[in-house]
């Protein structure tokens, strides 16, 4: 981009030929001088993505994760992570006067009282299901096409780790509403932890803060 006086453009047309990308070029120059992103950025934008449908499974996982994050933030603004007992006097009349945990009360309120709360809960629920399902199918694609082999072993291990974390996170999300299935799930999780040789009873009692149901798990 060195322009001497002799080459200085005289007409608009010449200016355009000297710098055909105008403001975009200017903005990219400014950014690249600070962050050095032009090289990688171009490679990223130019990347040719395989046309086969099975390469979209990872995208499904990615976008369901985005949905999970967005809806999860919304839900976390209304959810109350407390096991203390309260009495329900909300919009859903059949439950009026019933003693329940604050966590469950906030879940009921999310479904009945918070505007669009039920929709967001359902989106979160289904996105979580699709998330884990698509990861599993995506990993199966990688496994059966041999895409885990050298030099991509690290990617594979990271992928398996992320699948395990996704399952654990799914379990945690399942447990939060403190409804009947949450309780059963937590009970089973506690018992599985309990079954670990040597340290199981320590881990279970520490994580739950006493024997099941404890008072700190939510």
């Amino acid at each position: 981009m060195s322009t001497t006086d002799a080459q200085r453009p005289r007409t608009r047309r010449e200016a355009k030929r000297a710098n055909p990308y105008g403001h975009v070029q200017k903005a990219i120059d400014e950014i690249d001088e600070r962050l050095g992103v032009a090289k990688g950025g171009r490679a990223f934008l130019d990347k040719i993505f395989p046309d086969h449908w099975s390469f979209m499974l990872g995208e499904i996982a990615l976008y369901s994760f985005v949905v999970l994050l967005a809806t999860g933030v919304f839900l976390s603004l209304y959810y109350v992570p407390s096991q203390s007992t309260v009495v329900y006097h909300g919009m859903y009349k059949p439950l009026d006067g019933v003693r329940m945990s604050e966590a469950y009360l906030s879940s009921v309120n999310l479904s009945f009282a918070v505007r669009s709360g039920l929709l967001v809960r359902q989106m979160h629920h289904w996105a979580a299901d699709v998330f884990i399902g698509s990861i599993v199918i995506h990993m199966a694609r990688i496994f059966f096409t041999g895409a885990f082999r050298k030099p991509r072993e690290t990617n594979w291990i990271i992928g398996v780790t992320m699948l395990i974390m996704a399952i654990l996170n799914g379990f945690i999300g399942y447990s939060l509403p403190d409804d009947l299935v949450s309780g059963t799930g937590l009970r089973i999780g506690y018992s599985i932890l309990l079954s670990i040789p040597f340290v199981g009873n320590y881990l279970a009692v520490w994580l739950w803060g006493g024997s099941f149901p404890g008072h700190i798990i939510l």
Binding site: M1, A43, D46, R187, I188, N201, V205, S211
Partner: protein
């Protein structure tokens, strides 16, 4: 940048140059897949307009506080409309390709790797090995720190379980009550009946509902002996078992009255009520512990003693032999 007149193929050293020709309209790779692009574009525009309509509808529905399904349908119309539009745009109107990009190798050049190996070897020999004592001291210090850090970390996790898992709140003479706190009289149940009972006063507590929950069943014959050594544990045909499945701790709340089987809803373990709740089917590894019962002077059911073993699922340090606890 100055000679942008030719191909835009760029070789920045990390990627194989991609032959992306400057747009030539006769290049079949750059033609859209659609046979009538203008018509397709109109269709896609309609789809996207429907999507926009859906999004607006969602906004209105939210502000007007319509019911959940309206919110869901409007959002679905909105996002699906835009999404189908975008997909169709990419599939039918964008250059159809195929385009080729060679795989680039991840590894560095031979020279860079040699230089790295040289750096590792020489630095180690010259800089680190010369001061072996310091290196050893540093390693010893960090190692010791790692060991002593375990103690506060462990303590922060909470008290050890002790025999928290071995014992329940059932003691000798504890009265059996239902969830409403009502004691169970010897005439309260018909044969074939089942009720969940708790220790008196604990029916509303977490530990009462989780650990102490017990199923009380009345069978036809009044002299039921479920096992040798349990001759007087089931007075008047009343027999009580821990409600916690020995598999994973689910409440064994289903009673198959005809076959006198307790069934766990989680994994379908079945326990024979008559034979000391020995598992007949399913993954449960042990019988449900039996609560010895007797009938007190007022005719109410009380525990003859506590459970003689840990209730619920197993764990490593679980005592496998039943405690002798004077129930006989």
């Amino acid at each position: 940048m100055s000679d942008h007149d030719g191909d835009v193929a760029v070789d920045d050293g990390t990627r194989t140059p991609v032959a992306l020709p400057v747009a030539r309209f006769d290049d079949p790779h750059l033609q859209p897949l659609a046979r009538h692009p203008a018509r397709t574009e109109r269709l896609i525009a309609l789809t996207m307009l429907a999507g926009i309509g859906g999004v607006v509808w969602f906004g209105v529905a939210y502000v007007q506080n319509y019911s959940s399904w309206v919110l869901g349908v409007s959002l679905a119309v909105g996002l699906l409309g835009l999404g189908f539009g975008l997909t169709a745009w990419g599939k039918y109107l964008m250059p159809q390709g195929p385009f080729v990009e060679e795989r680039h190798t991840l590894s560095s050049t031979e020279e860079e790797r040699t230089a790295m190996a040289a750096a590792v070897t020489e630095r180690t020999q010259v800089v680190v090995k010369r001061r072996g004592v310091l290196g050893g001291l540093l390693a010893a210090g960090m190692g010791l720190f790692g060991i002593v850090a375990i103690f506060p970390l462990l303590r922060s996790l909470g008290p050890a379980p002790g025999n928290l898992l071995e014992e329940t709140d059932w003691k000798k003479g504890t009265r059996l009550v239902t969830i409403t706190g009502r004691p169970v009289h010897r005439d309260a149940m018909q044969p074939g009946g089942i009720v969940t009972v708790y220790p008196l006063g604990l029916e509303k507590t977490d530990s009462g509902q989780a650990t102490d929950q017990t199923v009380l069943i009345r069978v036809q014959d009044t002299d039921l002996v479920t096992m040798k050594g349990r001759e007087d544990w089931a007075p008047d045909g009343y027999v009580a078992y821990s409600k916690m499945c020995t598999h994973l701790g689910c409440p064994v709340g289903l009673y198959e009255q005809e076959l006198e089987l307790l069934v766990c809803p989680c994994h379908q373990s079945m326990f024979n009520v008559r034979d000391g709740a020995v598992p007949q089917f399913g993954p449960a590894p042990r019988p449900l512990p039996q609560l010895p019962l007797k009938i007190d002077a007022q005719g109410y059911l009380v525990a003859r003693d506590g459970y003689n073993q840990a209730v619920g699922p197993g764990y490593w340090s679980r005592t496998s032999t039943p405690r002798q606890n004077g129930a006989q």
